[in-house]
């Protein structure tokens, strides 16, 4: 531990500092606005300090590595968390529960995800994962008096604890074979053996259970629809983006540092998982009437798409994953942001009926939601289209024809249910009266601003993707010299 390590860990230290400051403020006086302000400022400062680190590649042996991939993921996570915070204010202001702890837990969950993406050692990985999970248990069950939220909380709790036990057993077996817990040293060990020892394969298999659970991919996806429905809408947005993206970042780091792409049987497992996720996600979403569950199944399918690019296992594949993650984060935030925006004090706006005729009542919200759904479906001029195109390119590049075929087929299936929601929004309804009491406009200013920015970003990336591609290429230059 050197003094310069602290400089590179500055974004994480700022988050911890903000959490402590929030606690002190809560102890003096509970004030939603002040806590909200501190959280926003902390995120902005953390992003700012991250920008100072741009272009560097720094090791904090043996736990952390700050390279381009880490900085990309950190930036993505911090900005996403910032948007989730912006969307949360109006949502929680309407609710009578205590609001201040929410921000504290959100900051710490973000910290856990940040630790996860820069770790290169099992211990740091595990602690980051658990900080994220434990914070999520409380966040999911946050609205305590609602029946759905405690059910979602206990489901996530039991399954997450079970999956981390599997992950740990896998780690123990890997440690048993290789005698080390750091990714590069595991890579060195793998170089020295000609084929994967059986025990090590078992260890990796058990670790996939833990990783697959967090990613919410088939067959570890059972929790996703229930938790998405039961959790408060901003928390759902957080789970769909930061929690899954953080794990994806870790998975790619592990595979590239340990150079595990070489093993055909590991790749086969992920191929099956990817195809099953795409198919199951899209087919189960077809009959959904509940928007939150529909988006849950859609996110299972999207993680399947991302795995296609991951399986390419080369520089183009990682670029495609990065690009798709950005597109997917923006669209998920936007979609759940709309859900949060339309929710009233009793329940979240998660029924399809809540959206019928939305365009005639709230045209701006409906327009943003339409853009997000079109992006999820992969319609041209949106970020989702470019992302999907990028993934297709990486799949074709490595001749994974089966995966490419499934991706195209599933995009067509997916189109149906996204269009169904859009059609409902444009349907004429007889009862045009607004059944909810309208909030003070200043309250939803933060949410509205965030939604507008997300919508613009979506279109901008869709029309002019070059700048984002160049940013990603520049950041990835210090990552993966092996490819």
């Amino acid at each position: 531990m050197r003094l310069s390590d602290l400089y590179f860990l500055m974004p994480l230290l700022i988050l911890v500092g903000a959490a402590t400051l929030n606690m002190l403020v809560v102890a003096v006086k509970r004030n939603h606005k002040v806590i909200f302000g501190i959280t926003i400022v902390a995120h902005l400062v953390a992003v700012f300090t991250l920008l100072q680190l741009n272009g560097s590649s720094y090791q904090i042996p043996p736990f952390f590595v700050m390279d381009g991939w880490g900085i990309f993921n950190l930036g993505l996570i911090l900005l996403t968390s910032l948007f989730v915070t912006l969307l949360s204010y109006a949502y929680f202001e309407q609710r009578e529960e205590r609001k201040e702890e929410y921000y504290l837990l959100l900051i710490l969950a973000t910290l856990g995800a940040c630790v996860l993406v820069i770790s290169q050692h099992f211990m740091a990985l595990f602690l980051g994962l658990e900080i994220l999970s434990v914070a999520l248990y409380s966040l999911i069950a946050y609205l305590r008096t609602r029946e759905r939220s405690d059910e979602a909380g206990i489901k996530y709790l039991i399954l997450a604890a079970l999956s981390s036990a599997f992950l740990l057993f896998g780690m123990a077996l890997v440690y048993a074979v290789t005698g080390t817990m750091s990714f590069p040293e595991i890579g060195v060990y793998l170089q020295s053996v000609s084929e994967l020892p059986l025990l090590l394969l078992t260890g990796f298999g058990l670790m996939i259970v833990g990783i697959g659970f967090k990613l919410g991919i088939v067959p570890f996806h059972m929790w996703a629809p229930d938790v998405y429905e039961g959790a408060p809408a901003p928390v759902t947005a957080f789970i769909a983006t930061v929690s899954k993206g953080g794990m994806m970042g870790l998975l790619i780091r592990f595979f590239s540092q340990a150079d595990a792409y070489r093993y055909a049987n590991l790749m086969l497992i992920f191929t099956i998982i990817a195809i099953a996720s795409m198919l199951a996600g899209n087919l189960l979403a077809l009959r959904q009437k509940n928007i939150k569950r529909l988006l849950a199944y859609s996110s299972i399918a999207h993680l399947g798409y991302i795995l296609v690019a991951f399986l390419a296992g080369n520089r183009l594949g990682v670029e495609a994953v990065s690009f798709y993650l950005v597109a997917y984060f923006i669209t998920s935030l936007g979609a759940f942001g709309v859900v949060a925006l339309l929710s009233d004090t009793e329940r979240d706006a998660d029924q399809l009926e809540d959206y019928r005729g939305l365009f005639w009542r709230r045209p701006a919200t409906a327009a943003v939601f339409t853009a997000m759904l079109l992006s999820l479906a992969g319609i041209p001029l949106t970020a989702g289209f470019v992302g999907k195109f990028y993934i297709l390119a990486s799949g074709v590049n490595t001749q994974q024809w089966l995966l490419v075929l499934m991706l195209v087929l599933n995009s067509v299936i997916g189109l149906y249910y996204y269009i169904k929601v859009i059609a409902a929004m444009f349907a004429q309804t007889k009862s045009v009266q607004e059944r909810r009491k309208v909030l003070h406009p200043a309250l939803s200013f933060a949410s509205g601003g965030a939604m507008a920015i997300l919508g613009l970003l979506l279109i901008w990336i869709g029309v002019y993707p070059t700048s984002l591609v160049q940013l990603i290429r520049g950041l990835l230059a210090t990552f993966m010299t092996t490819f």
Partner: protein, 172 residues
């Protein structure tokens, strides 16, 4: 002597673990779990991992199990709350069969696994002592140690937030 002690402790641990799973009364489950922890601590002492053995007793038997017992008594669950149902018998059988299959597969995989053994030349029996591990924990592992403190902060905030009684709530 130590060999037979190993087998005895192994038998005791597995017996107690089965007791945790199959006890009808949750309080018995907790007591069996405490027995499991103590016999595991015996294993750790045999392996000369004294620090782990002590922490196991203090953290698990001392803190976690007390918490479990407290909640069980707090909620007054000292009876068989799981009424026998047709459906639950089916899930029980299915669960037991799938678990057994998993065990068979794992043993089959691990049977031929090459795990190596100890190296008599460079063996160091002192690594599990408090002095050695404490030194490691505060030098090489300082960063994860600090992360663990953040984890406890999360757990504390979450537990207080979830467990606290609402003012309008009727029950305890």
């Amino acid at each position: 002597m130590t060999g037979s002690l190993f087998y005895f402790l192994t038998f005791l641990t597995l017996f107690a673990a089965l007791g945790v799973v199959f006890s009808k009364n949750p309080v018995y489950s907790v007591l069996f779990l405490i027995l499991t922890f103590f016999s595991l601590s015996g294993h750790y002492i045999l392996l000369n991992a004294q620090f782990v053995a002590a922490v196991n007793i203090i953290v698990y038997a001392g803190a976690i199990m007390v918490l479990f017992l407290f909640v069980i008594m707090f909620l007054n669950l000292n009876m068989d709350t799981e009424q026998a149902q047709k459906k639950s018998v089916l899930t029980k059988v299915a669960g037991a069969i799938s678990g057994g299959l998993l065990l068979v597969i794992m043993i089959a995989v691990l049977k031929d696994a090459e795990v190596g053994s100890y190296d008599p030349e460079n063996f160091d029996s002192q690594i599990g002592l408090v002095e050695n591990l404490g030194h490691l924990l505060f030098t090489k592992y300082l960063l994860p140690f600090e992360l663990a403190s953040v984890l406890f902060l999360v757990a504390m905030v979450g537990a207080v937030m979830l467990g606290k009684k609402e003012t309008q709530q009727r029950h305890f």
